[in-house]
C-alpha cells in the first residue's frame, strides 16, 4: 500500500511538472487569506508579468487615475463558468473568478513600456460569500508578492511627462480602503471597472463571447469615451466618462459619498446633484472659499477643480490614491466647466 502511494505521488509530481501551471481554484474558493500571491498560480515570470493559462488581459476605455501608475489588468473565470451580461452595471463575474491588477512605474513616463517597475498586485476574489480584496506587495527580486492587508507606503520615483524627476509617497491601500472604493452599496465589495461600456474596445467583448466566457452579447453596446481621446467623444462626454470612472463609484446615490448629495456617476442628470450650482455639505476647508461644486463657466471657482488640484488630505479628492495632481484630468474638467453656460441665478 505504502509503495503504491509513493508511486502515485511520483506520478503526480511528474505530470504536474510537465503541465502548464494551473490556477488554484481550491485556494480561490477556500476561506484562507493566502500570504503569497504566487500560491494562486495566476501569474508567472518576474513580477508576475505573464498571465497563466485561463488568465486574460483586458483594457478599459477610461481607467481610474492612480498617481500616474501604469496598470496591468487581468481576469480569471473558472473553467465551465460564464460571466453574466449586465447592461449598465459591472458584468457579473461568477463565483471562483479573480480580477487582477498590477501597478507599476516606468523609469520615464514618456516611454511607458520601458523599464516598468511593478510595485503591487491587487486581487479581487469572488468567493461564495462575495468578493474579497487582497493587496500584495512585490518583494525585491520580483519572485513573489506578499499580502499586506494593513497597507503600506513606498517612495516611488520616475521621470515625468515634462522630463522632470518626480517622487511620491505611493500608498498601497489597506483592505478597508479597498472597500472604500469597491463598496457595492450593500455592505460588501463590488467591481468598478468592467462595465460593458468601459470594456467595449479592441473587440474584447466579442472575443469573450466567442470564447464562451460571456453568456450573451446584445447588439449596439454603448461605448464609454476614452477620456483623453477627442476622437471618441465631445469634451462633455469625456468629462462625464472621467467623472463616472474616477468619482462615480463613491459619488452616487448609494455609494460611500452619497451623503454629500454630489453624485457624479454617468446616469446622474445635470442638476444640483451633479454639482451644478450645488453648495457644499460637509466639505469643510475642502470648499476653498468657493460656493459651488461646479460654478458654470468658472472652473477657477468650482470646488470640484479646487479639490482635484490639492494634495492636502483634508481637501484632496479623490481621497485615496492621490499623491499627485492629475493635471490632464483637471484640464479636461476645467474645459467642460468653462464651456457651460453661466447661470446668473446661482449668484446671489
Amino acid at each position: 500500500m505504502k509503495r503504491a502511494l509513493a508511486a502515485m505521488a511520483a506520478w503526480v509530481l511528474l505530470v504536474s511538472a510537465s503541465l502548464p501551471p494551473q490556477v488554484d481554484d481550491a485556494l480561490i474558493l477556500g476561506d484562507t487569506l493566502p500570504s503569497s500571491l504566487k500560491a494562486f498560480n495566476l501569474l508567472s515570470g518576474p513580477y508576475g508579468r505573464i498571465p497563466n493559462g485561463g488568465v486574460t488581459s483586458y483594457r478599459l476605455n477610461t481607467p481610474l487615475f492612480s498617481d500616474y501608475a501604469e496598470k496591468f489588468r487581468f481576469f480569471y473565470v473558472p473553467k465551465g463558468k460564464t460571466i453574466a451580461w449586465r447592461d449598465d452595471d459591472v458584468l457579473d463575474f461568477p463565483v471562483g473568478s479573480v480580477l487582477v491588477k498590477s501597478f507599476g512605474y516606468p523609469a520615464d513616463m514618456r516611454k511607458p513600456d520601458d523599464y516598468v517597475r511593478i510595485l503591487e498586485t491587487r486581487l479581487l476574489v469572488r468567493r461564495e460569500t462575495g468578493w474579497i480584496a487582497l493587496p500584495y506587495v512585490w518583494n525585491a527580486d520580483g519572485s513573489d508578492a506578499i499580502l499586506k492587508r494593513a497597507g503600506l507606503r513606498v517612495d516611488v520615483s520616475w521621470t515625468h511627462l515634462d522630463g522632470k524627476p518626480r517622487t511620491i509617497s505611493y500608498a498601497v491601500p489597506n483592505v478597508n480602503q479597498c472597500k472604500g472604493c469597491h463598496d457595492n452599496g450593500a455592505n460588501g465589495l463590488g467591481l468598478i471597472g468592467p462595465k460593458a461600456r468601459n470594456l467595449n474596445r479592441d473587440g474584447q467583448l466579442q472575443a469573450l463571447y466567442s470564447a464562451g466566457k460571456l453568456d450573451r452579447l446584445p447588439a449596439n453596446v454603448p461605448r464609454l469615451p476614452v477620456w483623453n481621446d477627442p476622437a471618441t467623444g465631445s469634451v462633455e462626454m469625456r468629462a462625464r466618462a472621467y467623472l463616472d470612472v474616477n468619482c462615480g463609484h463613491c459619488h452616487n446615490r448609494s455609494g460611500p459619498a452619497n451623503t454629500s448629495g454630489l453624485w457624479l456617476n454617468l446616469e446622474q442628470a445635470p442638476d444640483p446633484n451633479l454639482g451644478i450650482g450645488k453648495r457644499p455639505t460637509a466639505a469643510g476647508r475642502g470648499s476653498g472659499n468657493d460656493d459651488f461644486a461646479i460654478d458654470p463657466g468658472h472652473p477657477e471657482r468650482s470646488i470640484m477643480i479646487y479639490r482635484m488640484q490639492s494634495l492636502d488630505p483634508g481637501i484632496a479628492m479623490p481621497e485615496l490614491g492621490r499623491a499627485s495632481v492629475h493635471e490632464e484630468g483637471v484640464a479636461l474638467l476645467s474645459q467642460w466647466i468653462a464651456a457651460m453656460p453661466m447661470k446668473d441665478a446661482v449668484h446671489p
Binding site: N176, Q177, N258, A283, G284, R285, S287, R322, A323
Partner: protein, 399 residues
Amino acid sequence: MKPIPFLIAASLLAITNPAFADILRVDAGADAQSRLQAALIDAKPGDTVEIGAGRFELTDGLSLDVDRVTVRGAGPGATILSFKAQKGAGEGLLITADDVVLRGFAVEDSRGDGIKSKAANRIVYYDLRVEWTGGPKASNGAYGVYPVESTDVLIDKVTVRGASDAGIYVGQSKNIVVRNSIAMFNVAGIEIENCYGADVYQNIAMHNAGGILVFDLPNLPQKGGHAVRIFSNRTEKNDTPNFAPKGNIVAGVPNGTGVIIMANRDVEVFNNVIGENGSTNIFVVGYRNSFTDAGYNPLPSNVSIHGNMHGRAGYAPGPQFEGGAQMVAAMGSVPPIVWDGTGNNIRVTDKVPTLSLGLSDPKDRATSANPKIVDLGTGPEPASLQAIALPSSMEAAIR
C-alpha cells in the same frame, strides 16, 4: 433556591464565559500605523482593540469595518492618536460597521474630519477628545466627531476643540443622543443637520462662533429634519470669530450665537442656560440660499422655546448678522431671541424680548426688513416631543 430568571442567567453566562471575544492590544511605538490598522482589520465581531497609553504618530487615516468591535484607549488624556503627519484619507478614524463602541482616547490634528462614522448603526462615542492643538484655525479639519447616515447614535462625554466647521456634528441620521459633552473653540459647537429625532442635553458649548445648531439643507438623501430637543445645556460666551471657509453653511453663523434653528420642524429648546452671546441667544430662521429641490421645505415650523435662562445677548453682533449694527444703534442691543419671521407656529414663552425681522421669505435681506418686538407666547402650547430611547445595548456599553 429560587430559579434564576432566564435573562439574568443569560447575562451571567456572558460575564463568566466571554465566549470567543478577544482583546487585541496595541502599544505605542514604532510602526504604529500598520500595527494599529492591522488590529482594526484583524478584529472579529465581539473583540476589543485596546490601545495603550502614549502617543501614536500616524501617517494615514485609520479605519474599522467590523461589526461589534470596541476600540478602547487608556483615557482621552492618555491615549493620543496624532495625525499631524497624516498623508492621506479624509479623516483620522473612519468607522463603517454597526454596534461599534469608541471610548477612552483622543484624536489630534487630523487633516480632515476627526472621527467619522458612516452607515454605522448603534455607534457609541464615549469619553473621547478630538482636538486641533493649534487653536481655532481655518486650516483645521471640518468636523470633530461626524456620525452620518446612521440609526441610533450616542455621543457622551466627548470634548471637541478647534473644528473649522462643527465640533460635534450629526448628519442625516435618526434617533440621536448627544449629552455630557463639551464643544469649545469650534465654528459651531454642536450641529444636528438633516436628522430625525435627537436629544441634545447637559452639554457645554462655549467659545464657539455658534453654540448649538439645528439645520436642514436641500439636495441631500435625507432632508426634512425634525423632532429635536435641545435642553439643559449651557451655551455661553460663544465669542470666537467665525473662522469657517466661505461657501460652507456654517460660514454664515453670526459670531456669538447661542442656538440657531434653521428650516426644521418640531423643535423644542428648553431649560438651557444661554448668555454672553454677542449676536443673540436664540435665532430661528429659514434657509436663505436659493435652491432647486422640490422636496425641500426651507422654513421652520413648530418650534417651542420655553424655560430658558438668559444672560446678556446682542451687545456685539457679528458682521454675518445683517442689520445688527442698526439694531444696536436703535435699541442698544439685539434682543436675546430673534426670528426671521418665516415659517409657522413659532412659540416663545421665555421671559425676554423676541424680535421678529418680519421677513416673508428667508431669502429677503434683513436690512430691508421691518423688525419689531413680538409676543409669540399666545398660541396653543404644542405637544411635548418624546424623549429619545436608544437600544439598551448602547447604554450598557458605557456602564
